[in-house]
Symmetry: C2
Subunit: 442 residues, 2 copies
C-alpha cells in the first residue's frame, strides 16, 4: 500500500478521554475512529490487525476440531426467557423492539442460541463431542464505555461452545480448549496466563480467565515464571490425547497463578523468589464449564447409550478479538508508538523513501515494493524524513527499510528493527532476503 | 471434514413457508437454520460458501484499489438526522434506544457514516479519488421476510463508497466499480447483467442494478446475448485507464438490457432475434452515482486546487453477499439438489466411502482425504449407498469421488460430475490428478 493513497488518517490531537496508551495510539496511528460512545469504525490498518488476530484464532480453533458457524447478532428475547436470563441479565443487554413489537436483543453472548441450534440438530450421544465456535460482533451496553476498544460496547468476539455426554468428556473439552488458547496467545506474541476465576452471569463450576501481562492491566496478578517460559506452540501435547489433557490439567493446577482477588500468600511463598512474577493483567479470554445449566433449563435432551434421553454437558469459551488489539498494544509499545508482534502487524514492514523523485531512491524502493505491494506499507509521500520516521515508529511495524539518496546510489538500504531501534546498512538484496522477499532486483 | 463428525444437520421435512428452491435446499442441506423471522444462523457448510463469496468480492474490490474498512453495525440517529434520512427511511429501519435513552439504529446502509468518516480524515482534493468498502452485517426490518436468505432481515452486504473531485472523476469511479462487479459475478459462476435502475431511497441520477438470471427471479428481464458471452475476467480492460472505462460505458449504453419496468420494445426489436434473451432475474447488486447529495447535506467540504472548499462527488455500490448464496442456488440447481459453481463450493469434492470398514475402501479414501482434509467432505458414515448418493447430490459439490469395494481393490474410483451426472471409472492417481491433489498414494 502506498501511504500517499492509504486511508490512514493520523491524528495529532488526541481527545482528552483517551486515557490509556492503546486508545491514544490507535487514534493517533489511524487504526480506528469512534463513531458513537464505545462504538468504533475500523480503518484499513486497524482492520488488518483485527483480521490477523481472528485468523490465528480460527486456525487454532480448527486445529482442535472445533467447527466454525456464524450466528446472527440479533436474537429473540423468547430464547433468553427459556434459560431465565432475559430478566436476569440487566441493563448491559441492549433490548430492541422490531416493527411488529416483537422483542429482540443484540447478543452479548450466545449460550442460549447455540444450545437451541444444537438441540435442533443433534439426536444422539454418538454425535458427541461437538465443539462449535463463531467470530461475531456482540454488544454490551456498558454504562461508561472507555479505554477505546478495550471496553467498547460493540465488540468482536470469538465464542466457542462444547457439548459432551458426561463430566469427564466435558473436562477434556475444557482443557482441549485451554491448550488452544495457550497456543493462540503465544502466536499473538503476548504472555497470557490462565487464572482460576469466578463464573459470573455465565454460571458454572470451573472457570479460568486469561490475562495478558501489561502495566496498565485492571487486575493485579501473581504467577510462576514457568508460565512465561513455556512455548505452547512447541509442546508435544496432543489435544486428541486424553492423557496429554490430564497432563495439562495437572500443570495448570500445580503452576501458580492468581489474580489479587484469589491470591494465596501461603502457596505463593512456597515458590522460590526468583520464580515469582508480579504485575498487572488485562483479561482477554475466559473459559467456563457449567454442566447442564443451559441444556436442562432449555429442555434439550438427546438419546444416550441406554436409549434414555439426557441433557448434555456444556462449556463456553470466549476470546475478545477487538479487545486484544488494545491489549497487545498495552503490552507492547514505547514512547514513540506501537510495537507490533510479527504475526499481527498490519503490514510486513514500512518502506521509507526519503526522497521521492530521486532516481536511485525510487528505483530501490520500487524494487522492494514490487515484491509484495499488498503487504508493504510504502511511504512515498513528499514529507520530511523526520515526519516519516515518526509516523513509522508510531504505526510500529516490526521492521522499517529506510532508503536515502546517498546509500541508494550504492545499492544500500538501512534496516531498522522497531523493537531494539537498531539500524543496519546493508545491500538491497541482503535486506530483501532478511525480510523474506524473493525476486528483488534494483 | 468427516461427515460423521460434521455439524451439518440435513432436514427431511422442510417447513411449509420455504416456498422457493434455494430456501428449501439450504435448509435441507444443512447450510442455515432460521433463528427468528428473517434471521439465520450459518452452519459450517453455509458459512464456507458465504466466506468464499466474500473473499472473491474482496479480491476484486482490492484489485481496483478500493480499501477495506469495517464500520459498526449500530449507528447514531443523529448522524442520519444530518442527512435528513432518519425520519424519511420508514419502518424498515430498526430503531433502538440504549440504556441512557440515546437513539441508535441498526445500519441498513452506510452513506452517512462513511461520509462523516471521510470528512474527518480527508482535507484536500489531492487525496482523491478515494474508494472505500466494507463487508458487514446490516438490518432491514422487512414487513414480511421470506425466501430464506434472499429476503432476510439481518443480511451480509458489501457496500462501497467513492469520493471524487468532479463529475468526470465520479463517473470513472462508477464504471471502475461496474467492471469490478462484472468480474465478481463472472467468478461467482453466474450471469449477472447490469440494467439501468431507479435510485430509490439512496438517491442520485445514475444507477444500475445487477440481476442474476434465474427462473424464479422477481423481475422480468430482456437483454442482448452479448452479456452472456463476455468473460469479464479475461477482458483486457484496465480499471486504471480512463479510455478503457469509457469503452465500458459505451458498451453498457449500447448493449441492450432492461427490466420489464424499463423495457423499450422499439430498441429490443432492433436486435436480431437470435440475440434476444428473455427471462427473469434476481437483484444481487446495485450501484449509484448521487453527486454531492450527502456531502452537501452533511456539510463535508475539502479544499480544492484553487484553495476554495468544495463538496466531493459520491457514489455507492452494494452487493448482497448473503443474498447471493440464495441467488446462486436459484440459478444453479436441479431436482436432486444444489449445483455449486466451483469457486463458491463449500468443499472441493464429496468423497463417498461406500463401505467403511472395508480395507480397500478405507485405504483408497484415506489416501485421497489425507491430501487435503480441510477441504474435502468425506462421507465416512455407516449409511446405505443410496443415502450417501442423495446427500452428496443435495449438497451439490462439483465433483463426487465414489469408492466401492470391488473397484477399490483394483485401485479404481468413480468420478461423478455433479453438473452432467456423468460417471467415469479411473485409477486413483488419475482421479487425484484431475482433482488437483498432489502426493496421493494408496
Amino acid at each position: 500500500m502506498r501511504l500517499s493513497q492509504a486511508f490512514q488518517p493520523t491524528l495529532k490531537e488526541v481527545p482528552a478521554e483517551a486515557q490509556i496508551a492503546s486508545h491514544r495510539l490507535m487514534l493517533r496511528a489511524g487504526l480506528v475512529r469512534q463513531t458513537s460512545a464505545g462504538i468504533y469504525a475500523w480503518l484499513p490498518a486497524g482492520l488488518r490487525v483485527l483480521r490477523n488476530i481472528a485468523q490465528i484464532v480460527r486456525e487454532e480453533q480448527d486445529a482442535i476440531g472445533a467447527q466454525e458457524v456464524l450466528m446472527p447478532t440479533l436474537q429473540s428475547a423468547d430464547l433468553w426467557r427459556r434459560s431465565g436470563r432475559y430478566e436476569a441479565y440487566g441493563p448491559e443487554m441492549l433490548r430492541i423492539e422490531d416493527r411488529h413489537g416483537r422483542e429482540l436483543l443484540y447478543g452479548p453472548t450466545n449460550e442460549e442460541m447455540i444450545t437451541d441450534l444444537f438441540g435442533s440438530a443433534v439426536q444422539s450421544y454418538k454425535e458427541l463431542p461437538q465443539l462449535l465456535y463463531q467470530i461475531q460482533w456482540k454488544f454490551r451496553d456498558e454504562i461508561r464505555p472507555r479505554f477505546g476498544v478495550m471496553r467498547g460496547r460493540e465488540f468482536y468476539m470469538k465464542d466457542a461452545y462444547s457439548f459432551d455426554a458426561d463430566y469427564e468428556g466435558a473436562v477434556r473439552s475444557y482443557y482441549r480448549m485451554m491448550l488452544s488458547y495457550l497456543r493462540i496467545f503465544r502466536r499473538l506474541g503476548v504472555v497470557a496466563v490462565p487464572m482460576a476465576a469466578d463464573t459470573g452471569p455465565i454460571g458454572g463450576e470451573l472457570s479460568h480467565e486469561f490475562l495478558v501481562m501489561a502495566p496498565t492491566g485492571e487486575s493485579g496478578v501473581f504467577y510462576d515464571s514457568d508460565w512465561d517460559a513455556i512455548d505452547w506452540t512447541q509442546t508435544p501435547l496432543d489435544p486428541e490425547n486424553p492423557q496429554d489433557l490430564e497432563k495439562l490439567q495437572h500443570l495448570v493446577a500445580t503452576t501458580y497463578s492468581a489474580t489479587d482477588e484469589k491470591h494465596d500468600v501461603q502457596a505463593w511463598e512456597k515458590l522460590p523468589p526468583e520464580k515469582r512474577r508480579e504485575g498487572r493483567g488485562i483479561e482477554v479470554g475466559h473459559i467456563f464449564y457449567f454442566g447442564t445449566k443451559y441444556t436442562e433449563a432449555m429442555g434439550i435432551e438427546i438419546s444416550g447409550p441406554d436409549g434414555q434421553p439426557f441433557a448434555p454437558q456444556m462449556g463456553s469459551y470466549g476470546i475478545g478479538v477487538s479487545r486484544l488489539v488494545g491489549a497487545i498494544i498495552e503490552a507492547s509499545h514505547d514512547e514513540n508508538g506501537i510495537i507490533w508482534p510479527t504475526e499481527v502487524a498490519p503490514y510486513r514492514f514500512s518502506l521509507l523513501n526519503l526522497r521521492p523523485g530521486d532516481e536511485a531512491c525510487d528505483r530501490v524502493c520500487g524494487a522492494l515494493y514490487g515484491a509484495d505491494p499488498d503487504n508493504i506499507l510504502y511511504d512515498d509521500r513528499s514529507e520530511r524524513a523526520g515526519v516519516k520516521f515518526n509516523d513509522a515508529d508510531l504505526l510500529g511495524l516490526p521492521w522499517q527499510v529506510i532508503v536515502g539518496p546517498r546509500s541508494a546510489k550504492k545499492g544500500l538500504v538501512e534496516l531498522k528493527n522497531r523493537v531494539t531501534g537498531e539500524r543496519t546498512e546493508l545491500p538491497l538484496a541482503e535486506a530483501a532476503h532478511q525480510l523474506g522477499l524473493t525476486g528483488v532486483q534494483a
